[in-house]
Symmetry: C2
Subunit: 483 residues, 2 copies
């Protein structure tokens, strides 16, 4: 499936060309005949499964239950929340014909499931004893996009959407923050990507939400990638979709709601963050394959048999230590091709086994991040691998944090702001008065949009001055050009 | 979420009314505002997850890789296989508007993914070294149905679809049979449902397939439910979608293909097969919750505390034995309500713990299938539970097998055939000449369609006579009225 051509493009030279090459060469994505829709190939999908497994476990431990709601939403139902339908209207795919007949009312292919879920929630909830209700769904959604990039912005994508209902505001905000922290953790602890966490501005928040929080990735080209979002929906949807509960004094109350989602876009973030000129680098904690074993082919039959037996021994050790491994089967291909394949796919550790290793009861291990090669005897293998994976995970996160900080510039004048966006392009931290006028002016002049007000800044009340209008500003915001 | 009203309908009296009541009362399904689409509620979805986990593990152990292909298929691509598009045309949902604009070509919401997958396969396969290719996808599909029933026949449903490509016919048939045996196993070994396995007739096979195999469930009302199918696609799709490979002599060859699928319909089969007048009965091997713990509420605070501590002890034992359990939290509800809830949901074992059980360092366990209640001391708990689950699993399968055989009648004359279908309604085993004319005549007169030619019958060459036209017939077939 994979071409053995060398990379043509260096990551540092042309990130977007490198990206398009690597997603194909690493076997992550195939083009589809449907504009803006992608085929997620087995290796790409295995990364998604790894993300799914992790999040699903965290959700369930918190009492979130999975369920499944229809793909189609009647147009009239979507309209029930005014701002929600306004926000999504330009991106809708509509089914107008079913079973050969024109439908009386078009069906929207879900762009998100608030309305269809909440009309069920309204039936499920009657008393405070039914709360909190915590539901999650793993599914596909469709948003008609004009410009698309694999993983980063696609017409159809896969995601999870969590939706909860609470009796009071305090619990609601706790849920919003718990969700955004799960997302911070999956990026930082699992994918090794350091992120910014904060609140979105009025104009950037989710259509229909009261407040939106997001995690923002700093891409090596200085652009921002919104990694995942968590919304405090307040009572907006409860009002429009008629969700009520009786409190312990038998009074009818409007509940409070949250929704939060992470999509296959996260895989795009993973690719852009860690890859290098040799291909992808997948952080060990999320890698579907942590170790690949390459048996060196020999023409001597006895040698070949020994190598095969030695591989079996190594397998046993990996199995016992619960290490996710695979054995390279491309015995017909050149060793150069086989080695470069494992590099392109970004597998953290590579074990090579030839007759020499059999003799020494050892293996050769090389690390994807440092390319350091070492001979390790079998009795030390398990510890060595665990330590290497652990070390690589830590180094990736540290590098990512350094890069993030390196690509974030504090500026005090708009001239500086414009200079940064024109020359180096990066994240900018600056005071902003929080008026929509300044926000849109800044975007118009520099392409930079507000990303978030970082959590640490949120409660501040500084005596700052807006980077654009110079009026009073109490908090600093992060700005960047968005993907 | 669940009503505490008693069941109104007995399973033996009105199966379809009982079914509609139980799917609601057990919290499996909620109605949706979209005709023919269902909301799969958390308990229903947990059963699906249990089926998924099992199959996914079997598939992966066989080297099948998961991937994801677009939801939308251009209409022209679907048309590439003539019989395929003919078969699916009447059931298509079409997206004609995207992002506010009318599309040049309507997009079909996938009813199945052969065409969209195989146009990728054509790119992925070039040499015999790329074969076999084994891909599976977990997704939603849409077929516009006129009459729908939750789980059994819905416009949108969830399923897995496996698609493989092979270099020769032998390997292809082996794959077809391996898949159909996975389905037999998930029904028999996991869900405790005895099934018939065999080949479909020409008229009943999948649109575009060369041969179709299926597992057929015998529902207590004598109707047939097709549980899952496995298709030998021959070279039909390879021809229409231009898949070729070079063999080891560098000759260009058309490969052979299979596809196979199991859907959320299986949950409908589970409900219909095992339930009773008190609710659902879920076989232990597939049950998302195998044991539910009910703490008896006491007004005495010290007693209540003891019960809580005792529950923790029991939990520890269940955790260690890897038993899937949950603790009933409806402490505010009457004990009658709480017990009947666990029965409606069909949880295999129920543990009750009150002050008396604390004193005896024991628990009360009752079985969902036999309603037998027993006191079991904590030191024997783990063994007792494992044996009970095992015994219940075996009994359910045995009962299912007995029922299946009881509801299968061998007939020798068409008069008998008509009598059975008119009076008792059941599966019928009879000789058939395998002509489409007789098949459609039989359906017209009795509503019975050919279900399968059982595997054991397939190679026979008897001197039988067709039940309808009395011409020569070499094999017996199973007939029944289908769901």
């Amino acid at each position: 499936m994979i071409s053995d051509k060398k990379f043509l493009t260096k990551k540092s030279e042309d990130l977007s060309k490198w990206y398009n090459e690597i997603i194909e060469k690493a076997g992550l994505v195939d083009q589809s005949p449907v504009k803006g829709c992608m085929v997620i190939m087995p290796y790409g999908y295995a990364i998604w499964e790894s993300i799914q497994r992790t999040l699903d476990e965290w959700f369930k431990a918190d009492g979130v239950q999975n369920a499944y709601f229809p793909l189609f939403i009647p147009y009239s139902l979507l309209q029930k929340e005014k701002k929600h339908v306004e926000g999504f209207s330009p991106e809708l795919a509509l089914v107008t014909i079913g079973g050969g007949e024109t439908l009386h009312e078009p069906l929207v292919v879900r762009p998100t499931s608030e309305t269809i879920m909440y009309q069920s929630f309204a039936k499920w909830i009657s008393s405070y004893k039914d709360l909190p209700l915590k539901i999650n769904q793993w599914c596909n959604v469709v948003r008609w996009e004009k410009r698309t990039y694999p993983f980063l912005r696609t017409t159809e994508f896969l995601w999870q959407e969590g939706h909860t209902v609470h009796a009071n505001e305090k619990e609601t905000m706790e849920m919003v923050m718990r969700a955004i922290n799960w997302y911070k953790d999956i990026f930082e602890k699992k994918m090794g990507i350091s992120v910014y966490v904060g609140e979105k501005s009025e104009s950037e928040k989710f259509a229909g939400a009261k407040r939106t929080f997001s995690v923002e990735l700093v891409i090596p080209n200085g652009k921002a990638l919104q990694g995942a979002t968590s919304h405090n929906l307040g009572q907006n949807f409860a009002k429009s979709l008629d969700i009520h509960f009786l409190d312990n004094e038998n009074k009818q109350i409007l509940p409070f709601q949250t929704s939060w989602g992470l999509s296959t876009r996260a895989i795009g973030g993973l690719i852009l963050s860690h890859g290098d000129d040799n291909g992808l680098v997948v952080a060990p904690n999320i890698a579907p394959i942590q170790v690949v074993i390459i048996g060196i082919v020999s023409k001597n039959e006895a040698d070949m048999k020994d190598v095969t037996i030695h591989i079996k021994r190594v397998e046993e050790i990996l199995k016992k230590s619960n290490i996710r491994y695979s054995i390279d089967k491309h015995l017909d291909k050149s060793i150069g091709y086989r080695l470069s394949e494992t590099e392109i796919k970004g597998i953290p550790l590579r074990i090579e086994i030839g007759p020499a290793e059999v003799d020494k009861n050892a293996v050769i291990i090389s690390r994807r991040d440092t390319f350091k090669k070492e001979a390790v005897s079998l009795n030390k293998l398990s510890t060595f691998i665990e330590e290497s994976l652990d070390s690589m995970q830590k180094i990736l996160l540290r590098q990512s944090k350094e890069q993030k900080e390196d690509l974030t510039i504090n500026v005090n004048t708009f001239q500086e702001f414009e200079g940064v966006m024109k020359n180096r392009r990066s994240f900018i931290r600056a005071y902003w008065c929080e008026s929509a006028t300044c926000e849109s002016k800044i975007k118009e002049l520099t392409k930079a949009t507000t990303r978030v007000c970082e959590l640490e800044e949120m409660d501040k009340n500084d005596n700052g001055f807006c980077i654009y209008c110079k009026n009073k500003a109490r908090r600093k915001w992060l700005f960047a050009q968005a993907y």
